[in-house]
Symmetry: C2
Subunit: 128 residues, 2 copies
């Protein structure tokens, strides 16, 4: 996604290109981009000279969006993951540790939603 952000003004970038640059297998990248497309973070152009591009500008894409698209809800424990609260343990009420995990979950989301792709490619914001 950082590579796509760097190429944002140009046409679509192919998986092959990104794979070479980042030393990831094209096949694996392909799978990853499928998830990113389903989450509508990138759009695809099929056929020769095709590839992927960001669905919106780097400043409008939060790292949290990317992580959630690829790994599901951001949470330190399954039982406090938004959307899958039901399937955990049945002791929600009496659980003394739940509050801790909820606070941690919220802070994690805050951090990742506070950084955009734009922040990542403007080196000024990387080193702090």
């Amino acid at each position: 996604m950082v590579v796509l952000a760097l190429n944002f003004r140009d046409g679509p970038t192919s998986i092959r290109e990104i794979a070479q640059r980042e030393k990831i297998s094209p096949q694996y990248l392909e799978q990853i981009f499928l998830d990113l497309r389903k989450a509508e973070l990138v759009s695809s152009v099929r056929g020769a000279r095709g590839g992927y591009k960001l669905a919106r500008s780097p400043s409008e894409i939060k790292i949290g969006d990317v992580v959630r698209a690829l790994e599901g809800p951001i949470a330190p424990m399954e039982c406090v993951a938004e959307g899958s609260e039901a399937s955990c343990c049945e002791r929600t009420q009496e659980c003394l540790t739940r509050g801790v995990w909820e606070k941690l979950r919220d802070r994690m989301n805050e951090v990742l939603d506070d950084i955009t792709l734009e922040d990542m490619i403007s080196s000024r914001n990387i080193n702090n």
Copy 2:
């Protein structure tokens, strides 16, 4: 650890007792307490009427201490875990995402080091 904090003024609490109360197998609990003892968060009393007790008062034990003792360094990615930085990928310098993971790691540790066992057992601090 919360149970031990609740029993802090009394004598040692046996694994059997905690296992029943929290519905965890005694054998598994045993293994967990071994790690906690190695980290010097609890002390043990062997023999009949023995058990475990907190090594210091609940207000002096941070949740971060407990988590690190049981699960190792708190980090969102292996490559930013303190102590195991060497064994990750060889692209540390060029890695554009590393800064994000480091920031997330620091915030996670901050959250967990800001809550003590004392906070957890005084219900006033649980619900916020």
